[in-house]
């Protein structure tokens, strides 16, 4: 088997050739979760009954000789901030423990219509705020390569599950790198689509103008297949526009004439081994016939403050609704409504969430609004323009996903600002609303994966996925030989 063969296609073939039933396939994954989840802490809520029920539906169809769509019967997972009717959805926060949505997120509705087999909900940083999954009220998800390291964040659980072969694919959300960073840490493919390509309806909001749902998969083609299924204009999300085209059928062809842009600022201050891996990747692309274009993108240095101001501002508003009145956690003792709300929030939110709510409240307050929020909004416009003009000289931009590899456990506890700095490569993409895919491009001395990011112009998912696919095909022998973890079907 060629390593970059789509896992989804392979399982689809097994199912349609009736080499194994969907129930058997699902049961294998359930067993795998049972044996490995204690080690990885990828899932916070396993839903075997729900999964087997969907599997039986698929088997019925198979039995009746009906054709299956590609995603039908494929075991998968959802990050725990994607609303699932009848299944607890907590955002890994104490404040939402016990909250069972009464409606489905659009992406889940879509996948349900494809008879996707959902194995459970996966771990994440509380309300998607964090870079190592350690702000989760359930404790962090661990790296399948080395459990002394984190899986990354905030969609750490999805990456841990897919990397650890506890799901074929998963959907995460990416506000400042939360799909790409854990994908990079776990040697996976993580696609953050163009803002608006995938409906956000039902995604529990962190920062609405930056949030975007996307897949974490083992191969590029899988990412393309899942993206094609979930992208689309949704009446329930006014900001959605859908993708321009399908991607999975356009991955072939060649790299000749593809202009790959390198923004020098992206290579400053990153770890040497990461830099070396990226430089090798650039050579590979040159070898495949791509043209490398160098330029400066000095505005990038403002991306991080802009991101933290805007994201926290929106978060402070989005998280105002958790008051203990209608759902979720409520403080035990109180003397007034006001006290009930204050105590509920003080007790229900973790430290990082509180920090960002306070920051966001501050930057929106009268007297500070102009100095922070307004300035950040203006800079956002400048960053958008800078990327737009960069894409006049190149087709994609190649950059590191993270300046380092997966942190050791408890790394983030030492220095908050340093943790924020690890987002430096990913956040500009959310600010500009662009699509980007992270794919593995090497390993560090400890054997932890290094990721690279391919950034496209708006709605150019095909371009970046095609470039990613070609790199993956070219390098699978050396890059992926070490990636064979655990059970393979």
């Amino acid at each position: 088997m060629q390593r970059n063969e789509s896992r989804i296609r392979r399982l689809h073939d097994l199912l349609t050739r009736k080499e194994l039933s969907c129930t058997e396939l699902t049961q294998k994954y359930i067993d795998q979760i049972e044996s490995d989840n204690a080690r990885l802490n990828a899932y916070v809520n396993v839903t075997p009954a729900q999964a087997l029920k969907s599997a039986q539906e698929v088997d019925k169809k198979l039995h009746a000789g009906e054709k299956l769509s590609l995603l039908e019967g494929i075991p998968m997972t959802l990050k725990d901030n994607i609303s699932t009717e009848g299944i607890e959805t907590t955002c890994c926060s104490n404040i939402l423990k016990g909250y069972v949505p009464i409606y489905d997120a659009t992406v889940w509705k879509t996948l349900k219509a494809h008879n996707a087999v959902m194995l459970g909900k996966t771990n994440m940083d509380e309300f998607a705020m964090g870079s190592s999954c350690d702000t989760s009220c359930f404790g962090g998800a661990l790296n399948p390569y080395n459990q002394a390291h984190v899986a990354g964040g905030s969609s750490g659980g999805v990456a841990s599950a897919v990397g650890g072969n506890l799901a074929v694919y998963g959907l995460g959300s990416d506000t400042g790198g939360s799909i790409r960073q854990p994908a990079s840490f776990c040697g996976l493919v993580g696609l953050k689509p163009t803002y608006g390509a995938v409906s956000r309806y039902g995604l529990i909001a962190y920062a609405s103008s930056l949030d975007q749902i996307g897949p974490i998969t083992s191969t590029v083609e899988d990412a393309a297949l899942v993206f094609d299924a979930i992208s689309g204009k949704d009446e329930m999300d006014s900001t959605s526009s859908g993708a321009r085209e399908t991607t999975a059928d356009k991955l072939n062809g060649d790299m000749k004439g593809l202009r790959i842009g390198i923004a020098r600022e992206y290579f400053e201050g990153i770890r040497d081994d990461v830099k070396a891996a990226l430089e090798n990747a650039i050579k590979t692309y040159e070898h495949m016939g791509a043209e490398i274009v160098y330029f400066n993108l000095p505005i990038l240095k403002y991306a991080l403050p802009v991101y933290y101001i805007l994201a926290c501002a929106e978060a402070s508003s989005n998280l105002g609704r958790y008051d203990g009145i209608r759902y979720g956690y409520r403080a035990q003792s109180y003397n007034s409504v006001h006290e009930m709300i204050c105590k509920t929030r003080s007790e229900g939110f973790g430290a990082e969430v509180k920090r960002r709510i306070l920051l966001g409240t501050y930057v929106l307050s009268s007297g500070y609004y102009d100095a922070y929020y307004k300035k950040a909004q203006n800079l956002r416009g400048t960053i958008v323009k800078a990327f737009r003009s960069a894409f006049e000289t190149c087709d994609i931009i190649l950059a590191p996903t993270v300046p380092m590899t997966a942190f050791e456990l408890n790394f983030t506890a030492k220095d908050q600002v340093e943790t924020y700095l690890t987002d430096i490569c990913t956040v500009p993409i959310n600010i500009a609303g662009l699509p980007a895919v992270s794919i593995p491009c090497g390993f560090d001395a400890k054997g932890l994966p290094i990721g690279m990011q391919l950034i496209g112009n708006t709605f150019c998912e095909t371009t970046i996925l095609k470039a990613a696919y070609h790199y993956e095909s070219e390098k699978y022998a050396e890059i992926y030989k070490e990636l064979d973890l655990g059970v393979r079907l």
Binding site: N81, I82, S83, T89, C91, L96, Y99, P101, I102, Y103, A105, R200, Y201, G202, L203, I204, A205, A207, S208, S209, E235, M236, D237, S238, T239, A313, E314, S316, S317, G320, R321, D323, I325, R326, Y327, V337, I341, T361, L364, S365, S366, Y369, Y373
Partner: protein
């Protein structure tokens, strides 16, 4: 020293769209608590608003009817504050780019009250206090509102009330709201300050809330005016604060001071896109605007010669005015219709609600039919009036209530014959009249009326009798 009142109004009007501003839930009033709700309007995590374009249309209609400029580009913002009836802890409203700006309403004195802006927003739910407990009902959450803000142009309580009445009437005419103050579909907050007459500078203002009728509004403003004047007269200062009118004490009382004023942390609602309104949209909506009360009034007075007082009474009720227009389109003399309406028909519609709803068994066509009988001389005014009374009572057509004979009418010759017969039959009375007893004519006229079974036009008959007797 004489003081003058300076006031500006913020009026919230509930729009009468069928569904809420951001979801498909009904806006119907009076349902069981929390039954007109969905994940969107109770702000469940992950839900997103979807703007009801009809709300935008209604707000633009309100803007056009109050002479506003309509913004081609507008947006929604979040107004953040915490209260149990606000399930998202922010209200989706408009901050710095409202839909409509710079309009005005003209008072009967000719003075313009300038409108700063009209914006759209969602209503909150409400708290229900029962048996010592507090419950929240989110049915009203997400019901669309417009907020109409004026400049501080109002100088008296009378002007304030006239402004609200005019505004209310315009909204009724364009049909965007039922604007019922008691039910809360029209709510007014007044910013009020006082200053010495002749002063240029405005005084410190207080905002008065919770006035749910014109009577309370007048009382609250009177109280607040006097309170502020008293403060200034005794050398104290007015504090900028929000005050509530207490209907039990008739006083305004402090709710929160400037220090406690909310910092709403407005910012653009990232879940909604820019609202674009094209010149074509505006033209289409302008086309939909009905004739407004002011325009109707002018037309009734100028074109129909109807006394202004009568015209005002008709224009005051949208349905009555439409009824009047319908009748007028089918008869010759509009004044006949206005007389019947302001007279007998208003008497039948004894309450404000009846006039408002035009709870009437006589359709415009039926009234027009009656007037046509009158205009063609088939019946006279007396018969018309008594027939209309019967019509109002029974809901029957004039033609059902009047016999063929009743409607035969009397031509000039027939009337002359009847008059001559009456003169011949009453020589004594004729003599009396000729000798100066004018009253004697009544007896002769009575004979004519009896002989014609009331079909004769009494005035015409009287004129003819005098002519015949004195010839």
């Amino acid at each position: 020293m004489s003081y003058e009142l300076v006031a500006g109004l913020e009026t919230h009007i509930e729009l009468s769209t069928n569904t809420k501003i951001f979801c498909g839930c009904t806006t119907a009033f009076g349902a069981e608590p929390n039954t007109n709700c969905c994940p969107v309007c109770i702000g469940l995590p992950g839900t997103m608003p979807k703007l009801n374009r009809r709300v935008v249309d209604y707000a633009i209609l309100a803007g056009l009817a109050t002479n506003c400029e309509i913004s081609p580009i507008s947006k929604m913002d979040r107004k953040n504050y915490v209260y149990p009836d606000l399930p998202k802890a922010y209200q989706v409203s408009q901050y710095d780019k409202p839909l409509c700006e710079r309009g005005y309403i003209t008072l009967s004195s000719g003075k313009r009250i300038n409108i700063t802006r009209i914006h759209i927003e969602e209503d909150a739910g409400k708290l229900v206090h029962e048996r010592g407990d507090t419950y929240v009902d989110y049915n009203r959450g997400g019901v669309p509102l417009i907020e109409i803000v004026t400049e501080p142009d109002i100088r008296s309580i009378e002007e304030a009330i006239e402004y609200v009445e005019k505004l209310q009437l315009i909204m009724k005419y364009i049909g965007v709201s039922d604007v019922k103050m008691q039910e809360g579909s029209l709510r007014c907050d007044v910013n009020i300050s006082v200053r010495k007459k002749g002063d240029e500078k405005f005084g410190t203002r207080a905002e008065i809330k919770n006035m749910n009728s014109f009577t309370f509004m007048a009382k609250a403003l009177q109280y607040e005016f006097e309170r502020q004047v008293d403060l200034l007269e005794s050398g104290e200062r007015v504090i900028q604060e929000t005050r509530r009118y207490n209907t039990d004490t008739g006083e305004t009382e402090a709710m929160r001071g400037k220090e406690d004023a909310h910092d709403y942390r407005y910012f653009r609602e990232p879940d909604l896109v820019t609202i674009q309104t094209s010149p074509e949209d505006i033209a289409r909506l302008r086309e939909m605007l009905p004739e407004l009360p002011e325009q109707k009034l002018a037309r009734y007075v100028a074109d129909y010669g109807i006394p202004e007082a009568d015209a005002q009474l008709i224009v005051k009720y949208r349905k009555v005015a439409e009824y009047f227009d319908a009748v007028v389109s089918k008869i010759q003399n509009p004044k006949t219709a206005s007389n019947f309406i302001v007279g007998q028909i208003f008497k039948a519609l004894s309450t404000e609600a009846a006039k408002e709803e035009l709870a009437l068994s006589v359709s415009s066509e039926m009234l027009a039919e009656l007037i046509r009988l009158l205009e063609s001389g088939k019946i006279n005014m007396g018969m018309a009036k008594s027939t209309l009374d019967k019509m109002l009572e029974t809901g029957k057509h004039a033609t059902e209530l009047l016999s063929q004979e009743d409607m035969a009418g009397l031509d000039e010759n027939a009337l002359r014959n009847h008059c001559m017969e009456a003169i011949a039959a009453n020589p004594a009375a004729v003599k009396d009249y000729q000798s100066g007893k004018e009253k004697a004519l009544k007896a002769i006229l009575g004979a004519v009326m009896r002989a014609t079974k009331g079909r004769a036009d009494a005035a015409a008959a009287e004129k003819l009798l005098i002519e015949l007797i004195t010839k």
